[in-house]
């Protein structure tokens, strides 16, 4: 599990899984998808174990894998991948998220299941490639490739207003990535002007671009930042999110909130901050403020939401605001804490959406005003949901606490005001998440849906295993968050 | 009168190519359109052979062989399409197959 073979292995195995899915019978697609993604998850953990579980961060550095292939050498385009402590975690997360997303049940396994499963594996491939990319063009291509399966997800298996959702998703994402592409070309030509050579590899560009005058870096930085701000999303670039989340099929929502949003996080960690340190430093105040406003603004919207998926969508924005707060505190500690919190958010939101999906299967909808009192019928389901809610309000002892706490701790040193503002999101988080749980699970069971609800059963054994796995990660991460912080 | 020079053939090639293109744009009869395409392909072939001569290589000739193969395949498939269309629409007019517009 050393050198570059593990890298190519990790990249190709989802593609292989995708190809195999074409020959699996339709009836077995779900089983295949679950086992396949579980296998990939296991293999990913195995392959990255050297980086993640070695005793010291120095020892872990031995396992860093950097790979670079020439592609269009005249234009300096290469394919570059790098496996390190950060990308390893995101690889595992994307495999885990894929497993969770595949574990759902629904129309996507009835209508064109083969397309669904192969798109899921392709998404995994694209995500992995984006998380590993160290080359601008490679990153851009993977970043765009992620978009293809998502369009299918929303477009083919989406809910009522999928057309408009797809349109918005496309519009916003595309606007962002075009800006990023322009910015990429700009910094590539800056590199060319300085060295006379074309290169799109981060290692080459890092030698030139960060030292360029601040004025010339402002616009490229804005291009990158906007792309990622839309992806994450940060307020006010979140306009697409609600409609897309609500209209996407549940696996799509899981992917989007748990792992697609992390593309933006990784982008900021890997490109925006290292490439434009001076610009970011200069605008640190506004950036912190935007992050803090995201936290509060989305939390307030979540308070007003009357539907489960919408509420969780907004809560996702709110939590990612914390992540960005950590990143923009511009310290190594802050960005490590941001990574930790992203891991926490990914696991938690995958779990929340997965369990919400289970609730939806049983009660027919997750409208907070009508469905209630379900907890007594489904004890394990709602116990899992409650733990997810607790993790989401980042109670100490859960994975999210370490991240949120350390983010705020480090952000406090950068800006006390923004931190205090963001920290009020902790209160608002408790308000909306408890309301969410109360409306769904507690109270007197409504007579309307109770009759047909009582027939259906609690979590199936397989789903229970899934929940136990996620709860295990959440609790273990709460006890030993250090494991997620070797960068 | 100047001596024969290969570039003269290039001019002929350009002229024939443009005529073929014009036919492709103007005519609506699919069979004639296919013929126009053949004209264009021939013009390109002439180009290849001429360049081959100018560069003192044989690669151009080889390419022409392949282009001919493609042309044969193309006209076979194209005419097959025309037949299929004629069977459905009773016409070989390209305006009849405006499906691309929504």
């Amino acid at each position: 599990m050393e050198t570059s073979s593990s890298l190519s292995f990790l990249l190709t195995i989802p593609l292989l899984a995708m190809v195999i899915s074409w020959v699996i019978p339709k009836a077995l697609q779900r089983l295949y998808a679950i086992f396949g993604s579980a296998l990939i998850l296991g293999l990913t953990v195995y392959e990255t174990a050297g980086i993640l579980f070695s005793a010291t961060s120095e020892a872990a550095k031995v396992f860093f894998v950097d790979q670079r292939l020439e592609w269009v050498s005249e234009l300096g385009m290469s394919v570059g991948f790098r496996l390190d402590g950060v990308s390893a975690w995101f690889l595992i997360l994307s495999a885990l998220t894929t497993l969770v997303a595949f574990s759902t049940r629904g129309s996507w396994y009835r209508k064109q299941p083969r397309l669904f499963v192969s798109m899921g594996f392709f998404l995994l491939f694209a995500l992995n490639s984006a998380f590993l990319a160290t080359d601008l063009i490679t990153f851009y291509l993977s970043y765009e490739a992620v978009f293809i399966p998502m369009i299918f997800m929303v477009g083919v298996w989406g809910e009522n207003q999928k057309a408009s959702a797809v349109f918005r998703f496309f519009l916003m994402s595309f606007a962002g990535s075009i800006l990023m592409l322009v910015a990429m070309f700009q910094i590539m030509s800056m590199h060319h002007a300085a060295t006379g050579q074309w290169s799109s590899h981060l290692a080459d560009i890092m030698k030139v671009v960060p030292n360029a005058p601040v004025e010339s870096l402002l616009w490229p930085c804005v291009g990158f930042f906007l792309a990622f701000a839309i992806k994450v999303p940060l307020v006010p670039f979140h306009g697409w999110l609600k409609e897309v989340y609500v209209n996407a099929p549940m696996p799509g929502t899981i992917w989007m909130s748990a792992i697609l949003s992390k593309l933006g996080v990784v982008g900021v960690i890997r490109f925006v901050i290292p490439l434009f340190p001076a610009v970011i430093k200069e605008y640190q105040g506004p950036l912190l403020a935007v992050s803090a406003v995201s936290v509060i603004y989305a939390a307030l919207l979540a308070i007003r939401s009357s539907e489960g998926k919408t509420l969780l969508a907004y809560s996702s924005i709110s939590h990612l605001g914390f992540v960005m707060l950590g990143l923009f505190s511009l310290s190594a500690e802050g960005s490590n804490a941001g990574v930790l919190l992203s891991v926490g958010h990914a696991v938690t939101s995958a779990m929340l959406f997965f369990l919400l999906h289970q609730v939806e299967e049983r009660s027919g909808n997750v409208d907070l005003s009508t469905s209630k009192g379900l907890a007594s019928n489904y004890p394990t389901l709602f116990s899992g949901l409650f733990i997810a809610v607790l993790a989401s309000v980042s109670l100490p002892g859960t994975l999210n606490f370490g991240g949120e706490f350390l983010v705020l701790l480090n952000a406090y040193r950068a800006s006390a005001l923004c931190t205090i503002l963001a920290a009020t999101g902790v209160i608002l988080g408790a308000v909306y998440m408890l309301r969410f749980f109360q409306k769904l699970g507690l109270g007197t069971p409504g007579s309307a849906n109770h009759a047909d609800v009582a027939l259906k059963k609690d979590l199936s054994f397989a789903d229970l295993l899934m929940v136990i796995l996620l709860v295990g990660i959440v609790i273990y991460g709460g006890i030993n968050p250090g494991i997620f912080m070797k960068g | 009168m100047t001596a024969f020079e290969p570039w003269m053939l290039l001019v002929v090639s350009v002229v024939v190519f443009c005529i073929g293109l014009l036919g492709l744009i103007l005519r609506k009869n699919l069979i004639v359109m296919l013929m126009s395409i053949e004209l264009m392909l021939n013009a390109v072939n002439l180009c290849f052979v001429t360049f081959s001569k100018m560069h003192q290589l044989l690669d151009g000739h080889l390419t022409v062989l392949f282009v001919m193969t493609v042309a044969a395949a193309e006209s076979a498939v194209g005419l097959g399409l025309v037949i299929a269309m004629f069977r459905n629409l009773r016409s070989v007019d390209s305006d009849q197959i405006q499906l691309l517009r929504d």
Partner: protein, 610 residues
């Protein structure tokens, strides 16, 4: 020993929790006796551990047990470690001791309830978290306990979750506590910024700049007002009575609500640096003591009276802390834990005996029916009144004394507390009399069916009764630095005054409620604080959220729609060109090609060749 102290409740929680969950999944029920026995023995074992740990405690200082490294980041590393010293040892004894008694009591109290397994799991979880709070060697660990007890409290208040009101009460408690937690968090950030560590041992020694010090103290105190139900965050505690009565006794009287006092005592070296902060603490404490004592006089629900009484007594403790007499505050925590737990359990016994009746105006004459409850309740009553030699007398007297003589004390503070003490005597006597004396004011059948509680419930009452009686002789259990006395008032004068005040209050209540028929009084919301809060903050939050939603829908979504419309429009314009004829497309392509070729030829022309 220290580790096993927290492991026992954790084990109890895990066993009961999983068992209950498993049973619920299979549609069966957990035996309340067995799960109760597990939970109670876990607490007993914890109590023994706590006792042993105390006996092994070195005479001076503390022992620390490092369990594992919690997290490391840059220069910060936070261990998960337990730290036992005199202060935390006292708290562990109270938590495990009173906790064990209340567990025992619950076995019988919750026997009929189908959620007993869940109940005991939560109760053990609470004790685990509470022990973490008092044993935590680092601030994040204290915070873990701090939030953890909030969680357990939320779960137990909303224990009967089918009633919306219960759940809402739990939610209110959790959210108000979270407001306080925010203060805790930010205080931690300040502490870290100035000391570079989150270890309690380091934070205790840190010297903060004046302004920062005050904000640190106020933030910590904000946390305390949340957890210990002081003004302005006290309104959740009366609502928290929605939970089962033993829960009210354990969490909302004896242990959790006193963690604010623990925190102040723990951080006393830092807290005492800020005079402003101390004054605020004392002032708020006194105001809380008085205001909630007044409110308590107008309540008719037996548990609500006790709840307001708890808030009021906590006010006393904060005054003690505010004047620098942390030791007196902690002393009162201990005695209060005994007698308030006793009173709550007694109330529980009454409610249990009357099958759920909680209105004191529908009780009366229970002295004969519930003899054990009556006698133990009497001990609790005497203790809260401050009658010598009951435990409350010693601690309350100490607080009154310090409020008068210490440097930051004053006559005003003293008088406020004295009035509060008088009112305490009034409402407690009112409660006591209406419950146990006079003629029965409930249905005859109900009165006839009233029964004394079984042994499992009576035993804790007796033990706590004895502790309320004798607990005060232990004296101040922890020796924390005392403030210097600036006024010399003989201690005996204060004693006499305080006993007299209590006697006056009791007499007024006696005269008012003993004579003949008692007309029922409906509970009166004297200060309307709750409704003011809900319209101010609830309404405020709602309005802000609505404004945000408006912004979102009109502006942000409008912006998106605008972009979409523009794209649509330009799409339409381009569509005009989409004539649908492949040949027309070809033509356009050629035009484009020509333009491009000309453009590029021009560009290449300057190089002379192509």
């Amino acid at each position: 020993m220290i580790t096993s102290m927290i492991l026992f409740p954790l084990a109890g929680f895990i066993i009961n929790g999983f068992w209950t969950l498993w049973a619920a999944r299979n549609g069966s029920r957990v035996s309340s006796r067995v799960s109760g026995a597990i939970a109670t023995s876990a607490m007993l074992a914890a109590f023994v551990s706590a006792w042993l740990a105390r006996s092994q405690l070195p005479a001076s200082g503390s022992t620390e047990v490092e369990i594992f490294r919690w997290f490391t980041l840059g220069s910060l590393s936070v261990d998960f470690k337990l730290r036992l010293d005199a202060l935390s040892s006292l708290f562990t004894l109270v938590i495990t001791g009173v906790g064990a008694l209340i567990h025992l009591y619950s076995v019988s109290y919750m026997e009929e309830d189908e959620g007993a397994g869940k109940y005991f799991a939560y109760l053990n979880l609470f004790c685990f978290m509470m022990l973490n709070l008092v044993l935590g060697g680092t601030l994040p660990q204290v915070f873990l306990g701090w939030e953890g007890v909030g969680l357990a409290s939320y779960l137990l208040i909303g224990f009967w979750y089918r009633e919306e009101a219960n759940v809402s009460a739990g939610q209110k408690a959790f959210v108000m506590n979270r407001i306080g937690d925010l203060g805790f968090l930010i205080a931690m950030f300040i502490g870290y910024k100035y000391s570079g560590s989150l270890d309690l041992a380091t934070i205790e020694k840190v010297v903060l700049p004046a302004g920062v010090g005050t904000s640190f103290v106020l933030l910590v105190f904000l946390a305390c007002t949340g957890k210990s139900a002081q003004i302005p965050l006290f309104t959740w505690l009366p609502d928290a009575m929605a939970g089962p009565t033993p829960v009210s006794a354990l969490i909302h009287a004896a242990t959790m609500v006193t963690s604010g006092v623990y925190l102040l005592a723990r951080l006393s070296p830092v807290i005492s640096q800020s005079t402003t902060g101390m004054t605020v603490i004392a002032g708020i404490g006194a105001a809380t003591a008085l205001i909630t004592a007044i409110i308590a006089c107008f309540q008719s629900d037996i548990k609500k009276v006790l709840a307001y009484s708890t808030v009021s007594q906590l006010g006393f403790m904060f005054v003690a802390c505010g004047v620098g007499a942390f030791g007196a505050g902690v002393f009162h925590v201990m005695t209060h834990a005994f007698f308030k737990a006793l009173l709550f359990l007694g109330a529980g016994s009454v409610i249990h005996g009357l099958h759920g009746e909680q209105d004191i105006f529908k009780m009366g004459g229970l002295k004969k029916k519930l003899p054990v409850t009556f006698w133990t309740f009497t001990a609790g009553w005497a203790a809260i009144l401050g009658m010598p030699p009951f435990s409350g007398f010693f601690s309350k007297d100490e607080i009154l004394h310090q409020a008068l003589v210490s440097g930051s004390g004053s006559v005003i503070l003293f008088s406020v507390l004295l009035i509060a003490a008088t009112l305490t005597a009034f409402y407690m006597t009112r409660l006591y009399w209406l419950v146990f004396f006079g003629g029965p004011r409930m249905d005859k059948s109900k009165f006839d069916h009233a029964h004394e509680s079984p042994v499992a419930m009576a035993l804790p009452l007796v033990v706590l009764g004895l502790l309320s009686l004798a607990g005060g002789f232990a004296g101040e259990p922890v020796h924390l630095p005392h403030p210097e006395a600036v006024r010399s008032t003989p201690a005996w004068i204060i004693m006499v005054v305080s006993v007299l005040a209590a006697a006056v209050g009791a007499t007024i209540a006696y005269r008012r409620y003993s004579a003949g028929a008692v007309s029922p009084e409906a509970a009166r919301d004297v200060f309307r604080i709750d409704s003011i809060y809900s319209s101010l903050f609830g309404g405020g939050l709602k309005a802000t959220a609505s404004a945000t939603q408006w912004l979102e829908e009109r502006v942000v979504q409008g912006l998106i729609r605008l972009v979409a419309a523009i794209t649509d429009l330009s799409g339409n314009m381009i569509r005009v060109l989409q004539v649908g004829s492949a040949q027309a497309y070809l033509l356009m392509m050629i035009i484009g090609l020509v333009v491009m070729v000309i453009y590029f030829l021009k560009g290449v022309a300057q190089y002379g060749n192509f």
